[in-house]
Symmetry: C2
């Protein structure tokens, strides 16, 4: 192992007394971000004004930052571009993918997918009409459900509740064998473990950056389009910055070169600057090291919790190959238990109806954190201290 | 006039030696923004981490900031929400509007509309298929082209090149008389002059915030949905934060209450914080005062330029009622002339093929700026100093 994880941990500003196991929802603040934002605001926006689009390189940021993400997800240079939100990028990917398989009218997904992906797909088939449907099956039934009627398989690699992981290479191969395309949602994958989009046959992929890539609340999403599809794919959300010549202001749309066509409107430069600074954390990180250490930390947490808290049921697969970077347990009173944990400085989150989620990333989590978090959880469960009105009252949780 | 425009000017950080006449493209930096971003990053994201969504009120920001915008555009409370880019919001508005007029398949727009709106509409009709078309006519022909075949009239109030302004109340009345709906793009209206969405019968409206609302590069867009349509409108881009209960994680989409349904994905909190701080500039600003003073400054600029530079042709209507907040002149060498102006500290911009644009807003532009800018332009035109290779070489312009 060549990666120095003590050094990566020092690159985050973590609050005193907090063990942060919710980077799968919102990554913590990397040190360089605040300073970079000050530069972007005061020196670029403030001094360059409109000239910043060229002089400060704002206009090229979606592609430049996209190339930094590409390296983390095994994508070819020039195949990833930043912008919008994950939901918007799902819409773009689905609509473009469907157009590449004329005559196919079925989007296949699974009931473990993040609801927003299903909502977006549902909205798209409604807009398309003409017999298009969204078909959902159980996660373990996706592979068998791929047949010649399916146009696009849309799967989130890691289940946001259980942390169960799909075998994406296998799904891609099956999809391609039946003439379908694969849209791969990397929300809980990018920055969580090595991803090999090019090697594993992805057609489209989408992901967010505010989880394991630590870009901050509302950081921009990304979209991957395999080079073999770039010339043929027509963007459904055809905005001016995806045009071949945005500043010609032609009345007719002509898609831009390569991945640029998946851009839509004006990019969010402040959020992109925060992301760009946050990506510096990855310099010197070997993703295989990250994966090996994440699994070791997860196993350590699972063992400690299962020993001390038999009332919690592991929801995450034990098989390393079927696991993402989070560990989830089930308990009917999961909501209150999580509130009690948060009150003691162990921040995970809750997902209805009964899931306690703990994101475990070696970038800023070490053995000491794992042991302390497990000990606090054990104390809460054995004393029953979660069973208090202030923990059971439901506020909106994110 | 009750508004103190010397005070509003002091609220902007303008570079020394620059006269900034490009706020119609990117507004300058208001004083409070940098500090607000530091708070959002260090105290909220850094310390609250995931809890910021509730504790710092991030989750409600799209609606809360939307209500601040609503006041500036004459909209009812609870009718405006922030998010995404203007292009995305155009797509949402068009798709939802079309669904409210079943059987109508024509989107009517004009050739003076911003190309991105046309591209988005073109993409939408392609996705909808089934005979949907985008029909464009000359700007002055829009009103006459509204007939019973038209489902949605999509018009940008102020022409991005000439500054010519549509009579939106009149177009709304005509559209409604023929059973059509109106989508009103406020890109060059919001913050530029008083807008009366509710009074003037808008059905949908969309706008951006990085121009006259000074939210910074890539600031979020907004969408308005008239209260009378809120229960019936179905969002086409149906993301999880537009769901009735996002954190129930239901598999089926149910649109959220009122304007909330037009939300899509995770809101860009850093950009929203910048916008929220930038909106403080508007405290104490009377929009009728703003309009009166903007017209006076425009007239002063037009008079000075027409006197000294007969080779420039006014592209903006002389009639106050047909004018937005920018003044444009035509010249075949407009690009080089603008570069020469910028080199002398007068920042406007150029729009192909021959338009020099000057955004004139009293928030930070006064008579001294107007006189100096006109004098510098006069010198450049009379000496012909624009006719140099470094000004004629085309770089990408924004």
């Amino acid at each position: 192992m060549t990666t120095d994880f003590a050094a990566t941990k020092r690159q985050f500003l973590l609050p005193e007394g907090v063990i942060y196991l919710d980077g799968n929802s919102l990554g913590p603040l990397p040190r360089g971000v605040a300073e970079r934002l000050q530069t972007t605001v005061a020196d670029e926006w403030g001094q360059m004004l409109i000239r910043g689009w060229n002089t400060a390189g704002w206009m090229d940021m979606p592609a430049r930052v996209g190339n930094r993400i590409a390296r983390l997800v095994g994508a070819e240079p020039g195949s990833v571009v930043m912008g919008d939100t994950l939901s918007i990028k799902v819409y773009q990917a689905l609509a473009s993918a469907l157009e590449l398989v004329p005559g196919r009218r079925v989007i296949l997904s699974d009931t473990g997918n993040f609801p927003s992906d299903l909502y977006i797909a549902d909205g798209l088939v409604r807009t398309l009409g003409d017999g298009h449907v969204l078909k959902t099956v159980a996660p373990e039934a996706v592979e068998d459900a791929i047949d010649g009627s399916v146009g696009v398989v849309m799967v989130t690699e890691v289940d946001y509740r259980t942390g169960r992981r799909h075998d994406m290479a296998r799904l891609a191969a099956k999809a391609h064998a039946h003439g379908a395309l694969l849209v791969w949602d990397l929300a809980h994958s990018a920055g969580a473990f090595p991803v090999h989009l090019a090697r594993d046959g992805a057609d489209f992929a989408v992901g967010c950056t505010y989880k394991y890539l630590n870009s901050g609340p509302g950081g921009p999403a990304f979209i991957y389009l395999a080079p073999r599809h770039q010339d043929a794919a027509r963007p459904a959300l055809s905005g001016w910055l995806g045009h071949e010549a945005p500043f010609a202001f032609d009345l007719d749309y002509r898609p831009g070169a390569g991945i640029e066509r998946m851009r839509v409107g004006t990019p969010p430069i402040l959020q992109l600057a925060a992301l760009d600074a946050a990506l510096d954390v990855w310099n010197g990180v070997d993703l295989d090291d990250l994966r090996a250490r994440a699994l070791a930390l997860q196993d350590r947490f699972i063992a400690a919790v299962e020993t001390a808290c038999p009332m919690l049921t592991l929801a995450t697969p034990r098989d390393h190959g079927q696991r993402g970077s989070q560990v989830s347990f089930r308990h009917a009173e999961g909501y209150a238990i999580m509130q009690a944990l948060i009150a003691e400085g162990v921040i995970g989150d809750f997902r209805a109806p009964d899931i306690l989620r703990f994101g475990i990333t070696p970038l800023y989590i070490d053995e000491g954190d794992i042991d302390r978090a497990a000990a606090i959880l054990a104390r809460i469960m054995t004393t029953g201290s979660w069973d208090q009105p202030q923990f059971k009252a439901r506020a909106r949780v994110t």
